[in-house]
């Protein structure tokens, strides 16, 4: 029995190692292909950037705002039910900034983008590969790594950065509205508390997280999108794209937080 466990664990470890090495080869190929930027005219990728930014950012605005409002309200409800017991209700602003601006905002935004855009990107690339559209592009002399992945990275960075800012603002608004049901805080006082709680490194951390999420989400989803060899493998790899991007995003979130706040 122990033999079987060792064999299984060993196989799994080798498979993970193989996957990681393959992913790094893929990243290396993309970095290498950046050299063909000089042959690329911006107008060729302009439409892709605009469409992807619209899909990832603008079209997700509604759902991001609703979730931000609800999450902001949830945080406040928990804070208001617990803080007064310790006599620290004055730290409401700090709690909101710590939980929402530092952690929940970037992570929740990334999760929404992964589930919407990540799965869409992986599916789109898979279908393009299966229908030989990617081969057609390669045979036209188009560097597909540059043409497909690079504009999506730019669009995702722009979209995620904007969505995080909007998420934080709406969450604060949601939190404020809920807090009014329990304790009256004038709007300008609440706003001042939030502004005073914000530090420069919070802004830098949020920007760094949005840039990293903007890179890894399309990168990993395109990687899995290019994997399927038949249409039956498409759902498997789309599912892997979403779950693994989620996992990596959480790890990245923790790492950036450790870097800035510990």
């Amino acid at each position: 029995m122990f033999n079987r466990i060792f064999i299984y664990t060993g196989k799994k470890a080798l498979s993970i190692k193989g996957g990681v090495v393959d992913f790094f080869q893929y990243c290396k190929a993309i970095i290498f292909s950046l050299r063909s930027l000089r042959y690329l005219s911006f107008r060729a990728i302009y439409n892709i950037i605009i469409n992807q930014t619209r899909f990832t950012g603008v079209d997700a605005l509604g759902i991001v705002m609703v979730i931000a409002l609800l999450l902001g309200g949830t945080v406040i409800i928990q804070a208001l039910s617990s803080l007064p017991k310790f006599g620290v209700e004055g730290f409401l602003g700090n709690i909101l900034v710590i939980i929402i601006a530092r952690e929940l905002g970037p992570l929740a935004t990334a999760l929404i983008v992964i589930s919407r855009s990540g799965s869409a990107i992986a599916t789109e690339i898979s279908v393009q590969k299966w229908s030989r559209e990617i081969l057609s592009m390669e045979l036209m002399g188009i560097d597909t790594k540059l043409f497909i992945i690079f504009p999506r990275i730019i669009a995702s960075i722009l979209a995620i950065c904007s969505l995080i800012i909007i998420f934080d603002i709406v969450a604060f608004i949601g939190g404020y509205i809920i807090s009014q049901t329990v304790v009256y805080i004038p709007t300008d006082v609440f706003a001042q508390i939030i502004i005073d709680s914000f530090k420069f490194k919070d802004i830098i951390a949020a920007i760094i997280k949005s840039i990293i999420f903007g890179i890894i989400i399309p990168l990993i989803c395109c990687y899995y999108g290019l994997k399927p060899n038949s249409k039956f493998e498409i759902p498997i790899y789309v599912s892997k794209a979403v779950t693994r991007t989620l996992f990596v995003s959480i790890i990245v979130n923790i790492m950036v937080s450790v870097l800035f706040y510990l």
Partner: protein
């Protein structure tokens, strides 16, 4: 010295221990047109790996306009592929782009033309292939012949010196693609522009190609002009054209 657009010398190409092309040699002068045919497994589809995909894993030599295809580096390959127009049987149109966008894609990516010039060039090609009525449609809304015309237009929009057509005219209604065949015949008469047609139906391209090559089991079994092709008594060609299982080719 004669200018050869494609010069294949003693080329052997092995994939997964199977010899796909076995010491093949042929040349195509710039401005001439060639039809390559043969049964499945004869190696005609593997020519694509060498001439269009610029795979380096073969023995022998392959030259495009005097430059070795084998020695092309990563960027050399991209620039080389830009110079060749390619149409294949799956067509490979980008499903999230309209006909107009599909056709102008190579110009948008490669050329230094302005937006107005690209639009003008795209409109010109769209008119040539009679796609004006559906230029704003996406591939899902097109008929099969319109898809072929779009793929063809995309392949010629950069005015390449070599157009490589692989099984693109098969599985099409002959009436609907009559205009396409006429366009192909016109293009075949353009000096300095060459065609290589890979097909299972060489008899359809007698008016297009000056030269015909037949492959079987990775080897060239017939190589001649279109007149020689029509009048030949080569047993391989006769068996192929008669669609017969009797002859030198053993078809399973």
């Amino acid at each position: 010295m004669e200018e050869y657009i494609i010069d294949i010398r003693n080329l052997t190409y092995i994939v997964n221990d199977v010899t796909m092309l076995d010491k093949i040699t042929f040349r195509l002068r710039q401005g001439d047109n060639l039809t390559v045919f043969g049964p499945e497994g004869s190696g005609i589809t593997n020519l694509f790996d060498i001439i269009v995909k610029a795979e380096a894993g073969f023995d022998g030599e392959a030259y495009y306009k005097g430059e070795s295809i084998k020695k092309l580096d990563y960027f050399g390959q991209l620039l080389y592929k830009k110079d060749i127009g390619y149409v294949h049987g799956d067509y490979g149109l980008l499903s999230n782009m309209t006909v107009e966008q599909n056709i102008s894609l190579p110009l948008e990516y490669h050329s230094k033309l302005t937006a107005t010039e690209i639009k003008k060039q795209t409109e010109k090609v769209i008119d040539e292939v009679n796609l004006d009525h559906c230029k704003k449609f996406r591939p899902i809304d097109l008929t099969r012949s319109e898809i072929l015309k779009t793929a063809f237009a995309r392949a010629i929009v950069m005015d390449p010196d070599l157009l490589y057509i692989e099984h693109a005219f098969e599985d099409q209604c002959p009436l609907n693609i009559k205009t396409m065949m006429d366009i192909l015949i016109e293009r075949s008469k353009v000096p300095d522009k060459s065609l290589i047609i890979i097909t299972y139906y060489p008899q359809h391209f007698i008016d297009v190609s000056e030269y015909f090559i037949m492959f079987f089991n990775g080897r060239i079994v017939f190589d001649g002009s279109n007149e020689e092709f029509v009048k030949t008594d080569n047993p391989y060609v006769l068996q192929y054209l008669k669609n017969s299982i009797e002859g030198p080719m053993v078809i399973l």
